[in-house]
Amino acid sequence: MNKQRRDVLKYSAVFGMMAAAGLISEAQAQAWNKAAFEGKSLDDVFKILGSAPEKSGAVTLNAPDIAENGAVVPVGISTTLKADQMAILVEKNPSTLAALFFVPAGTEPFVTTRIKMGQTSNVYALVKADGKWLMSSKEVKVTLGGCGG
């Protein structure tokens, strides 16, 4: 058995324990979407999420035009739709999907987090409502900073 496979097994075992302890619900523990997080392109991720999203004015992506540092890029998603999932994708990152969010009923379709970007790229905010993925995107420039260049 190779090491990678052992790690995966260990990993699922830990998830199982967590689930049993009630720290993370069973559904969530099962669901860390390995395939989606390993997608290397927008199409890879779209395929795994189920459908290619359509552009929609109902999805708002809040991100700066320029990031002073690629290590911390603030990204927010909000929507007027009744969303149950949201996702942040960065086209030119080594793995396209940065984060996936699940929004239970009673929680607002709004999230803000911070992500890493290796270079200037388009950033996508995805929202799933009524079983359909919708999106909005913008380019975020990552600048070189400081004396180190």
């Binding site: 793995s95 940065a98 999230v111 803000t112």
Partner: protein, 102 residues
């Protein structure tokens, strides 16, 4: 043992604004150490937030989420709600912290 989180939750007009800071290196798997060896990825992969025992937010992170992750979301709730925030990382380390909505 992972370091504690900072959880701030305030209610206004029936909506609770939750801000969470987690202490984690979120190693991307892209960096190399001084000897040129790739530092393996190590990151928080799953986060769950419960209020009064019910799920109010779930997140899955990849290694592209920033070091010391920050998360802000809002749910319909009340002052005094008991929040339980838990995460687990890709090595199986975990952390749970509690907070009360102000």
């Amino acid at each position: 043992m992972a370091d504690p989180m900072r959880v701030r939750a305030t209610e206004s007009g029936g909506v609770v604004d939750v801000k969470i800071l987690m202490k984690h290196d979120m190693e991307s798997g892209q960096r190399k150490d001084a000897a040129g060896k790739v530092i393996p990825a190590w990151f928080i992969s799953t986060l769950n937030v419960k209020a009064q025992g019910n799920d109010v937010f779930n997140a899955q992170f990849g290694p592209a989420v920033s070091k010391d992750p920050f998360l802000n979301f809002k749910y319909k709730g009340a002052k005094g709600d008991k929040l339980v925030v838990s995460w687990i990382d890709s090595k199986g380390d975990k952390r749970t912290d509690e907070a009360t909505v102000a």
